[in-house]
């Protein structure tokens, strides 16, 4: 495929004509001395360095911009109060409920509402005026699940108690004032029952899209949540809660015939298009021992337990990278 003749036609043309052979040609260069490089010049296991900038939006309670290569994501978190009486399926937690009660407030009352949008034109294949792509829908489902399964946000900090209970009123800012009033109306003096909740609207917008969306989106959400200060005394509540979980995506493509394959870390759009198998690992190293919070692999049979293990290791290294970036 990669004969000198065909290589003489500009590599971009080659890429356009037959992207897949082009990718492979790059991964197995003609002479063995040169190390295999990807079409984007990176080593197979080399990631793009993320750049993170927080509190970039004035109106959101928390926000972050994450740039990972040409994938750029803005995440804005906005808190809104919802009164328990306004929650149709609300059910006062009865003392009888044991600790492992079936009641999961965050999920049952939708207190965390992630929404992912791939802006028109962030990549050539996103056209205006079409319903949300499968990718967008899949992403928001995965994000939603991870938000809950990882218990990233402490639900107890989203509860709002009547005046007496909440001694936080000291350092209210103006926004708090109206919140407080709103709550007073319904605050019943004696009981300490929850009167309202904060609902966190987490909006993620892809400005430009060049592969590895889940990874970048999640990083943005983390950064934004850490940055979130709700107008209440527990203003930095989220800080200690935030666990840093870099997500790591590997793609491999089985070459026709021989069973040889490559693992491409943090793939770009071209690569994602051409690879079959995807592995995503979510790790949390904040504790003394590494905790895995999610493994998701589909689309092929090459990655077995051993490879998965290797990838967890790679994920850990990536964790450091992003942790550093967020700090």
């Amino acid at each position: 495929m990669a004969t000198s003749k065909s290589m003489t036609l500009s590599s971009t043309t080659f890429a356009k004509l037959s992207p897949h052979p082009y990718l492979l040609a790059n991964l197995q260069p003609a002479d063995p001395s040169t190390t295999p490089t990807r079409t984007n010049g990176r080593q197979p296991s080399q990631t793009r360095t993320p750049y993170i900038n927080t509190s970039s939006l004035s109106h959101a309670h928390g926000s972050a911009v994450v740039r990972n290569g040409d994938t750029t994501v803005i995440c804005g978190v906005r808190g809104e109060t919802i009164l328990t009486s306004a929650i149709p399926n609300y059910r006062a937690p009865s003392p009888s409920d044991d600790s492992s009660s079936s009641l999961d407030e965050a999920r049952d009352y939708d207190l965390l509402v992630p929404n992912i949008e791939l802006a028109t034109g962030c990549a050539p294949n996103f056209l205006p005026g079409v319903p949300p792509t499968t990718l967008a829908q899949t992403l928001s489902t995965r994000v939603y699940s991870l938000l809950h399964s990882s218990k990233l946000v402490d639900v107890s900090r989203l509860r709002i108690y009547p005046e007496e209970a909440g001694k936080e009123n000291k350092e209210e800012d103006d926004e708090k004032m109206d919140e407080a009033e709103e709550i007073d109306e319904y605050a019943v003096a004696e009981d300490k029952a929850v009167k309202a909740y904060w609902v966190l609207y987490i909006d993620v917008l892809f400005i430009s899209f060049d592969g590895n969306p889940f990874d970048t989106a999640w990083t943005a959400i983390l950064a934004a949540l850490r940055d979130t200060k709700l107008p209440f005394a527990y203003w930095d509540a989220d800080r200690e809660m935030v666990l840093c979980k870099p997500v790591f995506t590997a793609k491999e493509k089985q070459k026709k015939g021989s069973g040889s394959y490559w693992i491409l870390v943090d793939p770009d759009r071209l690569e994602e298009g051409l690879c079959d198998e995807t592995v995503t690992v979510v790790v949390d190293k904040l504790g003394r021992s590494t905790k895995i919070l999610g493994i998701s692999k589909h689309g092929g049979t090459v990655v077995g337990p051993e490879l998965t293990k290797k990838m967890v290791a790679t994920a850990e290294s990536r964790w450091e990278q992003i942790h550093a970036a967020i700090e």
Binding site: P88, N89, R91
Partner: protein
């Protein structure tokens, strides 16, 4: 968009000729229904209807929600009919065909607008909380007469359904889980059914050349593709018409429509009895020592 199957000219000619002489491919009489069967699920509110090779599955679900602002004292009651490629590749996901629109409209008029379900009984806290009862209808296999089969499935499922029990202490509403309290049935007012007549033109009878309309009941898909027009009459067994729809197509004598409507009453009575009997059988085998209670207890462990 995938092509809908078109019967060949030979089939068209033959079937029309046969029908004119009073014959159908499967040897049924012109006004005869195919084998009808109705099964209920282990969970409440699941009805599985088979009519010949047509198969419909309906599931009822209840959810507490906020009532519409313009109807604070009513609950919410919706019937969703989305035909999937399972029934035929011609049905694409979220791209309603005409068949689908007419079907959901007929169910809407027959079951919802005729107040078969008492929506006021679904109100929990006026203007704040109410039950939202939703029926999801799935066409698993489409061999004609979707309307009659679907209507029967919807009615059966709703009558089989139980919604969670609730109580009000002061201004706090408690919705009990099935484990806490046995769910309660909906307040059901009457059971309407659809009978669809398919017309196949006219034949002249007697030497005076008087024209008579030919019609079939419970048509197969092939027969439906060849009919010149159809008329769906919805009634309950008390002879109350809930809806009549003849959406255009070739004209038929007014007299014929009247004859159809009185025959429809007979058929509706049969269907009505059929569903009553099936429901009775189901509740009998359920009440063998509170089956549900046992199961829930098992789950707890």
């Amino acid at each position: 968009m995938p092509r809908e199957a078109e019967p060949s000219q030979n089939e068209k000619d033959f079937i029309l000729k046969a029908v004119r002489e009073g014959h159908r491919l499967d040897g049924r009489a012109l006004d005869q229904f195919r084998q009808l069967d109705l099964k209920f699920g282990d969970q409440y509110g699941i009805a599985d209807v088979t009519l010949g090779k047509t198969r419909i599955l309906t599931k009822v679900t209840a959810e507490v929600t906020v009532p519409y602002t313009d109807r604070p004292f009513d609950g919410i009651f919706t019937i969703t009919t989305e035909l999937s490629p399972m029934a035929s590749p011609a049905f694409e996901v979220n791209r309603p065909t005409e068949t689908e629109v007419l079907l959901s409209r007929l169910l809407e008029k027959t079951v919802r607008r005729s107040n078969a379900l008492d929506t006021e009984s679904l109100c929990l806290v006026a203007g704040q909380k109410c039950w939202s009862i939703r029926v999801d209808l799935h066409v698993l296999s489409h061999d004609g007469n979707l309307i009659d089969a679907s209507c029967l499935a919807v009615v059966a499922a709703l009558r089989h359904f139980r919604k969670p029990d609730t109580s009000m202490e002061g201004d706090t509403l408690t919705v009990y889980t099935p484990a806490e309290r046995e769910p309660v049935p909906l307040s059901w007012l009457h059971s309407p059914f659809c009978i669809t007549f398919s017309f196949f033109g006219t034949i002249s009878i007697g030497e005076d050349g008087e024209e008579k309309d030919i019609w079939l009941l419970d048509t197969t898909l092939l027969e439906e593709q060849l009919r010149v027009s159809s008329c769906t009459i919805s009634m309950n067994k008390h002879g109350e018409i809930c809806q009549v729809a003849k959406p255009g197509g070739a004209p038929v004598e007014a007299v014929t429509v009247l004859q159809c409507s009185s025959l429809a009453l007979q058929k509706v009575k049969d269907l009505s009895d059929f569903v009553d009997q099936k429901l009775a059988e189901d509740s009998k085998h359920r009440n063998k020592g509170g089956l549900l209670a046992e199961l829930s207890a098992e789950n707890a462990r």
